[in-house]
């Protein structure tokens, strides 16, 4: 276990370095010239050239990347081309919003998805199962920006129950959470159902019934614990799509997180900011996957990580 963790931790910097190179090159392969975007359409070529020098884009690519890595190791991700703010402090200001939204979305996914999936498994092929599965298919298929706009129109514009934009109070969390949390809720409900059905058909459940345990205790103590492993796996694997969903959800709700920051940065070819945000997203996905593996090992003593 310890060697396993150590190996994973050692691999982390290599993954990040590899990803940083990919991100760095991919962004620069995008057509579009940040110097021209900054200088404006009327600017004469000389002014665009001056802007290129000011933005440090005049150097050869290799030197740019080398400088980027050397500074990044020291926690300096450069200065945003667009806002002139240090990338690191800008991301530090905005990441908590994205992280908080990811947490509330996961909370929704687990608090609704797990009980709904359990109910579907227990009442297999009966109406609760059919309703839950219908909703799960709908939830997994619907585009989150469409859901976001519909929810905004109904709860904020028509009913005036919830605020529309921004992140001022707990009420502001509800609609973005629904928009971002629906997909993982649906996935977890489906995963819980199939994994519970499998567990419920096993011998130790029959034994538990035979020794006179009540249904609820069986479901909660024996079945759920065993069914948890695939659920935790889903939570871990799904974090990447939560980060991806945040890009859309945050833009629609004016949520001041890194998803919206990324959209604004791509529009202005703000290279340092795109690099910083993408790297952070990658690192957080890698870390969450790692934590999920640890959690699985903790839940299931039979799994030995070596």
């Amino acid at each position: 276990m310890k060697t396993y963790i150590a190996r994973k931790l050692l691999a982390l910097p290599l993954i990040v370095l590899g990803v940083s190179l990919l991100v760095f090159l991919a962004i620069r392969m995008l057509p579009g010239d940040p110097a021209r975007m900054m200088a404006g359409p009327e600017a004469p070529e000389a002014a665009v050239e001056a802007m290129r020098v000011r933005l440090g884009l005049g150097q050869p690519l290799f030197m740019q990347y080398f400088g980027f890595v050397v500074h990044a190791i020291q926690g300096d991700f450069g200065i945003s081309i667009r806002s002139n703010l240090p990338v690191a402090s800008e991301i530090a200001n905005r990441f908590p919003y994205t992280f908080a939204l990811a947490l509330t979305s996961y909370a929704m996914a687990i608090l609704i998805g797990v009980p709904a999936g359990m109910a579907a498994a227990v009442f297999r092929n009966r109406w609760p199962d059919q309703i839950v599965m219908l909703l799960a298919i709908a939830g997994a298929s619907v585009a989150n920006f469409w859901l976001a706009l519909m929810a905004m129109n109904y709860f904020a514009v028509e009913l005036h129950w919830l605020p529309l934009l921004g992140a001022g109070s707990w009420k502001h969390y509800i609609l973005p959470t629904i928009a971002l949390g629906t997909l993982p809720t649906a996935l977890i409900a489906r995963m819980t159902r199939s994994s519970m059905i499998e567990v419920l058909s096993q011998d130790f459940i029959r034994t538990a019934r035979a020794k006179g345990l009540g249904s609820f205790a069986i479901y909660r103590k024996h079945a759920l614990r065993n069914a948890l492993i695939p659920i935790v796996t889903i939570v871990g694997l799904n974090f990447g799509s939560i980060m991806g969903g945040a890009v859309v959800t945050e833009s629609v709700f004016n949520w001041p997180g890194i998803g919206r920051l990324l959209v604004d940065s791509v529009r202005y070819r703000d290279y340092p900011m795109i690099e910083g945000v993408t790297l952070l997203a990658v690192v957080s996905v890698v870390v969450v996957n790692f934590l999920a593996e640890m959690a699985i090992a903790a839940i299931n003593p039979r799994i030995r990580l070596t």
């Binding site: 009327e42 800008e90 939204l101 706009l149 959209v263």
Partner: protein
């Protein structure tokens, strides 16, 4: 495990706490919230050229002259001015007793420093492009007199001085290098904060020399989602939405709680034709495309009626716009005859580069031009990619086989030079300017030079009339339409006015409490 769960919960709570934005304010403060379609690019008025950034900055800054609600120029930080007979030397008497928001004094010295920033090539400010070539020297003759020498006679100089890029900034803040994130001018509002993901907040400047605003705070927010802009007005998340997407204009007009403020727009939309490419090098072909364009249908379908068909390279704003009949009324037969005359009776295939949000323009034209056998090959591009493709030089455009570009240009409508020179002058061939189709006419170039240095209004008007006629005849572009400026406003909010081209002024707006 239990310990871990608790620790995680702690982290979660911390994040939730950190992620609650508290907007500074005080009980009873009136805040006017303005939602625009894009975030500000800088707090330095000279380091940007974006209309919607200018709107955010204008309440905090002042220039030597200022444009009033009557759209005329009025004294600002200068109380009066004179110009020498050769038009090269401008002398400004400056207002006394004015202080910057950081407490330092405004005087001729600080005004000069503000212009020196624009002239500094090394500083390379993004918004300096228009003024830098004009400014020769700027100096303080005495503490209350500023003297500006121009490189050439430019009667529309005062118009430039009213633009955001010419606003006077605090020299002490500029020296600190903070201006791009902290605004500091002399205006009736002063900067409070720029939360880059959320808003810019401004509050009334208690030491302002002139009339005090009615509201206590201005809060600027932004969203690129058109339907969100509309919803924000309905819920009250925004008091003012600029620009209001035309698709929502009718519903806003019919809603008793909301108002639609419209203004003459100055954004002319067009398709630049690459006149170096065959068969677009033939004027008949370009004219044929113009005749085959149903502009009324475009205005109706794409702008929901909130616009005017373009009939000249200038927006229909007096006094310079050439009034008269549409030079290219919709006429398929005439278009076909012209194609035949040019030797391409069966039409041709042409590529067009268009930005994703404007792709519907290209799609409409595709249908219209198909009727004369012109097949439009549409390239829908993300804005950064489009900018690169559109501003390629002749060689690169040839290699790219790019025949045309859909674009728009807005210059406020007060100074035709800013609309005509960048788009049609030979010196403005891309990438140096926005002459994206490489049109060139010696006659037009000369006319533009003469007009720009002509101060006498009637003569100037005559020269610009001629220029518009030349562009109309040579048809280097298919001119499409001019949008109207649309702004959605909540009932109870008054005193919002527009400058053609998307500029909104809400500094002296009032907001009733309900």
């Amino acid at each position: 495990m239990a310990v871990h769960v608790k620790a995680l919960r702690g982290v979660a709570l911390l994040c939730l706490a950190a992620a609650s934005v508290a907007v500074p304010g005080y009980a009873g403060a009136t805040t006017l919230t303005i939602l625009q379609s894009e975030p500000p690019r800088s707090m330095d008025p000279a380091d940007q050229g974006a209309t919607f950034t200018g709107n955010v900055l204008m309440p905090m800054y002042e220039g030597l002259v200022t444009r009033g609600e009557d759209l005329k120029l009025h004294p600002g930080l200068a109380t009066k001015w004179t110009v020498s007979d050769d038009g090269l030397t401008w002398t400004f008497d400056l207002r006394e007793g004015v202080k910057f928001h950081d407490g330092s004094d405004f005087n001729a010295e600080s005004a000069a420093k503000s212009f020196h920033r624009l002239m500094d090539e090394k500083l390379g400010l993004a918004g300096a492009g228009r003024l830098r070539p004009l400014l020769k020297t700027v100096e303080a003759a005495d503490p209350k007199t500023l003297k500006i020498e121009l490189t050439r006679n430019y009667p529309a100089f005062l118009d430039l001085l009213a633009s955001p890029q010419a606003m006077i900034v605090s020299p002490s803040e500029a020296e600190k290098g903070d201006l791009n994130r902290v605004a500091s001018g002399t205006g009736p509002f002063k900067f409070v904060e720029w939360s880059s993901g959320d808003h810019v907040l401004e509050e009334v400047n208690p030491d302002y020399w002139g009339e005090k605003p009615s509201v206590d705070q201005l809060k600027w927010t932004w969203s690129a989602e058109q339907s969100v802009m509309n919803m924000a007005l309905q819920t009250g998340d925004a008091d003012i939405v600029n620009p209001l997407p035309p698709v929502f204009a009718a519903s806003i007009e019919n809603n008793p709680d909301l108002k639609l403020v419209t203004g003459n727009g100055s954004a002319v939309f067009w398709v630049a034709l690459n006149v170096q490419q065959k068969p677009l090098d033939k004027v008949e072909v370009r004219q044929a495309l113009n005749y085959a364009t149903d502009r009324d249908a475009l205005v109706k379908a794409l702008l929901h009626g909130y616009g005017t068909p373009a009939d000249s390279p200038l927006a229909p704003i007096p006094p310079y716009h050439l009034d008269g009949p549409q030079p290219y009324p919709y006429d398929i037969d005439k278009a076909k005859a012209l194609l035949e005359k040019a030797g391409v009776p069966d039409g041709f295939t042409m590529s067009v580069a268009v930005q994703e949000p404007e792709a519907n323009i290209a799609e409409a034209l595709q249908g219209m031009w198909a009727k004369i056998g012109v097949k439009l090959d549409i390239r829908r591009l993300e804005s950064g990619v489009w900018t690169k493709a559109a501003f390629n030089d002749p060689e690169a455009k040839k290699a790219d086989n790019l025949g045309s570009v859909v674009a728009s240009w807005s210059s406020g409508g007060f100074n035709p030079d800013q609309q005509l020179r960048p788009l049609y002058d030979t010196s403005s061939w891309a990438p140096s300017g926005a002459n994206l189709g490489f049109y060139s006419s010696k006659e037009l170039d000369d006319l533009l030079d003469t007009a720009a240095s002509t101060a006498e209004p009637a003569k100037r008007k005559e020269l610009y009339d001629q220029a518009q006629k030349i562009v109309n005849t040579d048809a280097p572009m298919v001119l499409l339409y001019v949008t109207k400026d649309l702004v959605g406003v909540k009932k109870g909010v008054d005193g919002v006015w527009l400058i053609p081209g998307g500029d909104i002024r809400a500094t002296y707006a009032t907001k009733s409490s309900n």
